[in-house]
């Protein structure tokens, strides 16, 4: 099973996770820029975070044979803090970088005017940069938030096939599919969506324009949920080709619209062998691997 996890916050995960993901078949990932548990208070904090997504985290992933990409945006929660909104001026610079495959996560948290402004402005940035968009749907008032999201996307003039609307469930999937956008599902241990509910949705709606991610982050989550969903699909009668479509070809087709995916194997990485040593002053990402 080859797996492309199109939404996983690896900054919050350990090297054990990378090893387990590689062993399960994960070869490429996308890490969307989002909020951390602690709110940011300055533009500089975003700059360091974006640089880390494109720099250190990509290096870390490559040490474990995984190709790391990112999406860049001011997230909706922090769009409400005027100390943070100036970062919007810096986002075009990041959208030109290698491995930046979309604008995201954008969308709504509490559906405020400040969120409207940041969302619309970043949809325009995506249009100017020729990039697709990853849209987060809110935890609270999800159905109204999803409808409003689709209205704003329609008004932006972006082609719907450039938009992935994420964190969907049984009550929001139909509207997104009817709009012609890609439907994303975050498989969590016990909240947004689980693998059994996911397989039921795939049975009802088919596998076209359907994208499954782990959305693993600093909360209770599991970076192997993509693999578990694939296994559950096979147990319930889907074919290997169906699984490959949902877990690899669909996300590759969506993010491939950026022209900025790198999917060839990491040069110099040998599977099943201890990775090449990379240590410095005891803060190595590969600490303990060598004899």
């Amino acid at each position: 099973m080859r797996i492309f996890d199109p939404h996983v916050h690896m900054t919050s995960r350990t090297t054990d996770d990378y090893e387990a993901m590689y062993a399960a078949g994960v070869r490429a990932i996308v890490e969307p820029a989002f909020w951390l548990g602690q709110p940011r208070t300055s533009v500089g904090s975003f700059v360091d975070y974006f640089d880390a997504l494109l720099g250190w985290e990509r290096f870390r992933a490559a040490q474990f044979g995984i190709r790391h990409h990112a999406t860049i945006a001011l997230n909706p929660k922090e769009a409400n803090d005027p100390r943070c909104t100036e970062v919007l001026d810096l986002i075009p610079r990041y959208l030109a970088k290698d491995g930046v495959v979309a604008v995201g996560e954008v969308g709504y948290d509490a559906m405020t005017p400040a969120e409207d402004e940041a969302f619309a402005r970043q949809l325009a940035l995506a249009r100017d940069a020729g990039l697709p968009v990853l849209v987060h749907t809110p935890h609270r008032d999800k159905q109204a938030g999803t409808r409003r999201t689709l209205d704003v996307v329609r008004e932006s003039g972006l082609p719907p096939e450039h938009v992935l609307v994420d964190h969907l469930n049984e009550t929001t999937v139909a509207a997104v599919r009817d709009a012609g956008a890609w439907a994303g599902f975050s498989i969590y241990p016990d909240t947004k969506m689980d693998e059994h509910r996911m397989v039921a949705i795939l049975r009802e709606y088919g596998t076209e324009r359907m994208i499954v991610n782990s959305a693993a982050d600093w909360g209770r989550s599991d970076p192997l949920k993509t693999w578990r969903t694939g296994m559950t699909m096979l147990e319930q009668g889907f074919t290997e080709d169906d699984v490959d479509r949902v877990l690899w070809r669909n996300p590759v087709e969506f993010y491939g619209q950026s022209g900025n995916l790198v999917l060839d194997p990491v040069p110099g990485f040998v599977a099943e062998a201890p990775p090449a040593p990379a240590t410095f002053e005891g803060s190595s990402v590969l600490r303990g691997v060598r004899a």
């Binding site: 990491v266 040069p267 240590t279």
Partner: protein, 240 residues
């Protein structure tokens, strides 16, 4: 280094270099695009499959852009230095490597006469790269510029860091010429520490524990900024 970028993607790169020579700010758009246009293959895949030690095709392309910038700024070293600092600060890891490799090319062209503003900015950028943990960025900061312009303490720590991160010391320009007794002591201590822990001793440490006699070390080894890279190393760096 620069010649390597010209071969397979001559069209895009030639156009980009011409544009940079006309308008130096064009480099700001060329720099992030280089990897997508010329590829990211290692320059010496046989011994360096990841392109960490000797760099990549896109490193070489960006170094060529730095040379073009040198022409575009028409000898205004202060403006060139500020532009390189911008490209580094606003760049991702690959772009930062490109600035450092470009400084190497400028150093090889200018030798001891690299203008002061470029030496000052280059030292700042090398110090930043040497604090990083990305092996390719660290390896890009120990080339001919470092050999010529880093102070001895900083340079020794850079060399030992390469050993720590498992990058071949082939990455270091003028290693034999600059290695000194203090570096040999640091290497012996590291080897002893590894043996005491029952861990493998990196082969490269042996290259550091037996320094050349002082007479062969060239002038200014303890003098910050006083070393010109040896001609043999110069030739190697320009190879594809």
């Amino acid at each position: 280094m620069v010649a390597a970028a010209r071969a397979p993607h001559a069209g895009w790169l030639a156009d980009a270099l011409a544009e940079v020579r006309r308008d130096p700010r064009a480099a700001d758009g060329v720099f992030p695009l280089a990897g997508r246009r010329v590829g990211r293959d290692p320059l010496r895949p046989g011994t360096d499959p990841a392109g960490v030690v000797h760099g990549t095709v896109d490193d070489a392309a960006r170094a060529a852009v730095v040379l073009a910038l040198d022409a575009a700024h028409r000898g205004d070293a202060q403006r060139l230095a500020e532009h390189l600092a911008d490209l580094y600060r606003e760049g991702d890891t690959a772009e930062r490597r490109g600035v450092l490799r470009g400084l190497d090319v400028l150093t090889l062209a200018a030798g001891r006469d690299l203008p002061g503003p470029l030496v000052a900015v280059g030292r700042d950028l090398a110090a930043d790269a040497l604090r990083a943990n990305d092996t390719s960025l660290v390896a890009a900061a120990v080339g001919p510029f470092a050999a010529a312009h880093l102070d001895q303490h900083t340079w020794r720590h850079a060399v030992v860091k390469l050993v720590f991160q498992g990058t071949s010391l082939d990455a270091v320009a003028a290693l034999d010429e600059r290695a000194d007794d203090e570096l040999a002591r640091m290497a012996r201590d590291l080897a002893a520490e590894r043996r005491a822990a029952g861990r493998a001793v990196p082969d490269d440490l042996a290259r550091l524990t037996a320094p050349a006699p002082a007479a062969d070390r060239g002038p200014g080894a303890d003098d910050p900024g006083g070393f010109v890279p040896a001609p043999t190393r110069t030739a190697e760096t320009e190879e594809p």
